[in-house]
């Protein structure tokens, strides 16, 4: 009895009986894994730092005017990013304009409409589309899709919709339109998978509440599912946008390495990423290399902002929903 009382009133330190090796092992593992995590963080910082470091000669020479300067003159070493920024924005925005509704539609199909047995099969097939390497899509783009656009789709669009400036000009086998189509194909699988999971996550009782009122399936989707998943779908679209702006290889193969800012989708062009892929190996002067990496720095900043925007949306709205209910 008294021994028990002692145990309660005084807390004797339990001598650590574990072998030195054991305790060291714990510390060692903690330190090792911590170092790995620190290395990952350091890596990200290093990437940012290094890119700006290599670009520095061009940044100090051209300053921020680089961003608004149009024209890429390797002979006179006068470089500007505006053409590329325009090309990146145009191709990615158009690709998302097509990809976003298509992805939402596919997500809805896979979560609401598809016959049960077919659901996983079709979902897997759509995900397989994401697994196709970008260089293979670029290969297909340059040798199959490009000619198709140049000889069939382009002329058709020009014939019927040529009054719209977008479809002005001569259709070619390469250009903005082909790039937009290729980017769409790359973005849709990613965005639609996320949408599908979001739609599956809507609580059944919410769906039943709408249907019990006598709403049709589509009215239930429009009134309950889409509003409920608004934040996640936005984040998914933004993530898709991030993917599109960063795609170098497939775009460089099909966009035709053109110059200038044109309105027509049939024109050739270039994006920040594709310019890098095309010109880097042929870059002659140091200032040209530095300017190219300046492009990379701009791309990096845009990509980080886009990525962060998606993360913020997800985190803020997830918090809001649980806080509200």
């Amino acid at each position: 009895m008294s021994a028990r009382v002692n145990a309660v009133t005084s807390t004797p330190a339990l001598p650590s009986r574990r072998r030195i090796g054991d305790r060291l092992g714990d510390v060692f593992l903690h330190v090792l894994t911590g170092a790995a995590a620190a290395a990952a963080v350091a890596l990200l910082i290093a990437i940012g730092w290094k890119i700006f470091d290599i670009a520095h000669p061009a940044i100090s020479k051209f300053g921020l005017a680089f961003i608004t300067h149009q024209g890429w003159d390797a002979i006179h070493n006068r470089f500007g990013a505006l053409d590329l920024i325009w090309g990146t924005a145009l191709t990615s925005v158009l690709a998302l304009l097509i990809a976003a509704p298509v992805s939402i539609a596919i997500g809805l199909y896979l979560s609401e409409l598809a016959p049960r047995g077919a659901r996983t099969v079709i979902a897997s097939l759509v995900e397989l589309l994401a697994a196709i390497p970008s260089v293979v899509l670029g290969l297909w783009g340059i040798l199959v899709l490009g000619p198709f656009v140049g000889t069939q789709l382009g002329p058709w669009l020009h014939r019927h919709l040529g009054f719209i400036p977008l479809f002005d000009g001569t259709p070619q086998n390469a250009g903005i339109l082909v790039a937009v189509l290729v980017l769409t194909i790359m973005v849709v699988p990613i965005t639609s998978s996320i949408c599908r999971e979001l739609f599956l996550g809507v609580p059944t009782e919410l769906e039943e509440g709408a249907l019990a009122l006598g709403a049709t399936r589509w009215e239930m989707v429009r009134g309950v599912i889409l509003p409920y998943t608004r934040a996640g779908v936005s984040a998914a679209v933004i993530l898709g946008f991030g993917r599109a702006i960063g795609e170098a290889i497939a775009v460089s193969l099909v966009i035709g390495a053109g110059h200038g800012i044109h309105r027509s989708l049939f024109a050739t062009g270039d994006t920040l990423a594709s310019k890098l892929a095309n010109e880097y190996q042929g870059a002659a002067t140091n200032i040209q290399i530095a300017s190219l990496v300046y492009l990379a720095a701009i791309l990096l900043v845009i990509s980080l902002l886009v990525n962060l925007a998606a993360q913020v949306i997800v985190r803020r709205f997830a918090h809001q929903r649980t806080g509200g209910s």
Partner: protein, 283 residues
Amino acid sequence: MEADTMQAVAPIEIAQAREVPLSAAGREAVFETRGLSASYGKALAVANVDLSIYRNLVTAIIGPSGCGKSTFLRSLNRMNDLIPSAKVEGEVLYHGQNIYGDGVDPVEVRRRIGMVFQKPNPFPKSIYDNVAWGLRVLGMKDDLDGRVERALTQAALWDEVRDRLKKSAFGLSGGQQQRLCLARAIAVEPDVVLLDEPASALDPIATSKIEDLMHELKNEYTLVIVTHNMQQAARVADMTAFFTLERTESGGHGVLVEYDETPKIFTQPADKRTEGYVTGRFG
């Protein structure tokens, strides 16, 4: 009945009923089920139910858990259609038409036969929009404000929310959310409202408010309520149907045992199984 049988069923105090229950005599049958059986895949949930629901009455479905009460209820507005493995046999006649017949549109069925669920499930919208959504979808947009106010008043919620109609429905308490779901259901002017254990997730005070509401609402609607709480049935229902679990080799399924006016079910049940249940001897 002999004195000792009266004694044995005393625990249920019929005096708790707020009003004298109404009788079915002379009333129109809103629903008539004939041989209704429902199963999920191979598992039979409820078998061969012949039951009539009468207009402007509160009908309670009671019985032990697992005896298919909810399944039966959901068969009345074709909510079981949403479950892929669900199958329904027999007929459910709504004003003489079989709701499972050819050419019948489940969307129309659910427009006329509304439902309130066990767990309050308001939409992630404002209080106003929760009620207005159904109205807009179904094209009842004239005097939207008036309709919303009427529905919320009938659900005894108007005074509590009139100043915050645009606020999120999630800001309401559980009991208020459930009354909101009720308001949203009656806003579209159904004929019948089905309630699947509407108060089981609520505290006693909220429960009491819902029960009070049912007495008012039955003047305009026909109500069918599933409840696992037989005192609630005794308080609220005019007619009561007792279901029980019939065991078979493959498990068991629910069957309708007895259906009669509430006082009779609780004081002079005709079936031994009913008696056993309402006296608390089992289940």
